[in-house]
């Protein structure tokens, strides 16, 4: 050991340059926040904000007790909602599979044309909330469950497609090489090398999306796309708050159930 008689009493956690950057970064964030806040609350009527607790108490009072007699009327819309979610997920997943294969670097038939298209489809589908899709579809093909199903399907393509293509890109190259070494055709390589590896992920992702879709389907009716959201919209329009509470309780119960089912199924898959 070299004889160092004088040990430094100075130690800096970060270099001065890095510290400066961090300070500037924080400053920029704060400045941005303040500016956004100003712009956002330009037209906010603060009197309303101050009044909010009283309003909340008022609404809360009107919401209780929930109108249990409303429950039978909600059963068919609930069935519709579940169908929207399930059939929509089914459609979305079926459409997402080819898109995912086109988007994955190791399985795409054309790097420069099909892959960017597939990636764009995925981003486009992801960026647009299912409620907006529903809005569009109701305007095009009219109100009803079909609009809801298609909306859910279109939204699901992006979600499932993204996770699926990431899973395809993460497959173990050695297993694929092994299949290729037997002299298999590209289609066989996919079905024997890649598909078995991504199958559990595929089921997990699909069930996960189904669970999310159940939540999203409950509100599609607000824009006319069928399901229990229609009843919600109707009740809100006439300010029938006890009915609204009943609907919310039902939605809550359904969401809890679907989350339990999805967790069980995904656990069984893993």
């Amino acid at each position: 050991m070299t004889e160092i008689t004088h040990y430094s009493q100075v130690w800096a956690h970060r270099t001065p340059r890095k510290r400066l950057f961090m300070w500037l970064g924080w400053l920029a964030l704060v400045a941005l926040f303040v500016w956004c806040w100003q712009v956002m609350t330009e037209n906010t009527i603060w009197a309303f904000v101050a009044d909010a607790p009283r309003q909340a108490a008022d609404i809360g009072g009107r919401m209780m007790p929930p109108r249990l007699s409303y429950l039978p009327e909600l059963m068919v819309p609930l069935w519709d909602t579940i169908n929207i979610a399930t059939l929509g997920t089914l459609g979305g997943v079926i459409m997402a599979v080819p898109v995912a294969f086109m988007a994955a670097r190791n399985t795409t038939p054309s790097q420069h044309i099909l892959r960017p298209i597939a990636l764009f489809i995925i981003v486009a589908s992801r960026s647009i909330n299912s409620l907006i899709w529903a809005l569009l579809l109701v305007a095009i093909i009219g109100p009803g469950i079909l609009a809801g199903i298609v909306a859910i399907a279109l939204r699901s393509i992006g979600f499932v497609g993204k996770l699926l293509y990431e899973a395809i890109e993460e497959t173990d190259a050695r297993q694929i090489e092994a299949v290729q070494a037997t002299g298999a055709s590209p289609a066989q390589v996919v079905s024997y090398g890649i598909v078995p590896q991504v199958m559990p992920a595929f089921w997990g992702i699909s069930v996960f999306r189904w669970d999310i879709n159940i939540r999203e389907s409950t509100i599609l009716g607000l824009v006319g796309a069928g399901g229990i959201g229609l009843k919600l919209q109707a009740s809100l329009n006439v300010l029938a708050w006890p009915q609204v509470t009943m609907i919310l309780i039902l939605i809550l119960g359904t969401v809890v159930l679907s989350e339990w089912v999805s967790a069980r199924v995904r656990h069984a898959i893993i």
Binding site: M1, I4, Y7, S8, Q9, V10, W11, H13
Partner: protein, 272 residues
């Protein structure tokens, strides 16, 4: 210095991990703790600084009973006990220097530790410790960039940064290869001798214990069954601690290891 009086630990499920352990560790003594797995060695060590709560007995560090302290006092007393862990237990994403300085956490207020503005004395001491364990050049590297032996040395420096009056060492060599194990044990015993620091070392490698420890305590099923210098560790004593079968299996394992090492050395010499 450290006086355990009737220390016991019984879990809620009824499992008795420790039973009536009475020991005294005077200043400057390096004590090895041996025994089969499940004998309670780790539990004993953790009961001393109350990382595990003892259910019976007293832990006297000097004239303070650690077992009876409230949270705040306990934290203050923990500063006096440095602990070194089996799997190093460094904060991987922090640098070596930050890890060593984290030994001072009990001594500095929150704002100092948060902003990393430690007193100059602490920093100087940290550098001195890093030099002592031979890791000066690695001071600003992330802890997970180091090898196993190097990480253990950072762990030692961290424990020493507390300026402790007692060292608790939990299987320091379990995750290390034989050569590094010996280096670490040598470093530990040297440092303890330099500072007159008493230490309790939980160790599973009996030959290593015999080589480096001044006193050996054998634990079996939560009770002390042996207490004496390493020379007194006869076959009979070892069989009592480990049970006949286990001890023979361990001996066979050690013999195989020694054979393999001798063979490797012979091959190297043949090449040279």
């Amino acid at each position: 210095m450290l006086h355990l009086k009737g220390l016991g630990k019984t879990y809620k499920t009824g499992d008795v991990a420790l039973s009536d352990v009475t020991l005294e560790v005077p200043k400057g003594q390096i004590m090895g703790l041996i025994g089969p797995s499940g004998a309670g060695k780790s539990t004993l060590i953790r009961c001393i600084n109350r990382l595990v709560e003892p259910t019976a007995g007293a832990v006297m560090l000097g004239d303070v009973d650690l077992a009876s302290l409230g949270k705040r006092e306990l934290r203050r007393q923990r500063r006096r006990i440095g602990m070194i862990f089996q799997e190093y237990a460094l904060v991987e994403r922090l640098t070596v220097m930050e890890n060593v300085l984290s030994g001072r956490l009990g001594y500095v207020p929150f704002w100092r530790s948060f902003l990393r503005r430690y007193p100059p004395q602490d920093i100087q001491n940290a550098y001195r410790l890093l030099d002592r364990v031979g890791l000066m050049e690695h001071a600003d590297k992330r802890a997970d960039a180091l090898s196993g032996g190097q990480r253990q040395r950072v762990g030692i420096a961290r424990a020493l940064a507390q300026e402790p009056e007692l060292l608790l060492v939990d299987e320091p060599t379990a995750s290390l290869d034989p050569k590094t194990s010996r280096q670490i044990m040598r470093l530990l015993t040297e440092i303890c001798a330099e500072r007159g620091l008493p230490a309790i070392v939980n160790i599973h490698d009996v030959p290593l214990a015999q080589q480096f420890m001044q006193r050996i305590v054998g634990l079996r099923a939560g009770r002390v069954v042996f207490d004496g210098p390493p020379e007194d560790l006869t076959e009979a004593a070892l069989t009592e601690i480990y049970g006949a079968e286990d001890w023979h299996a361990m001996r066979a394992g050690d013999a195989e290891q020694a054979e393999a090492e001798a063979e490797a050395r012979a091959r190297m010499e043949a090449l040279a």
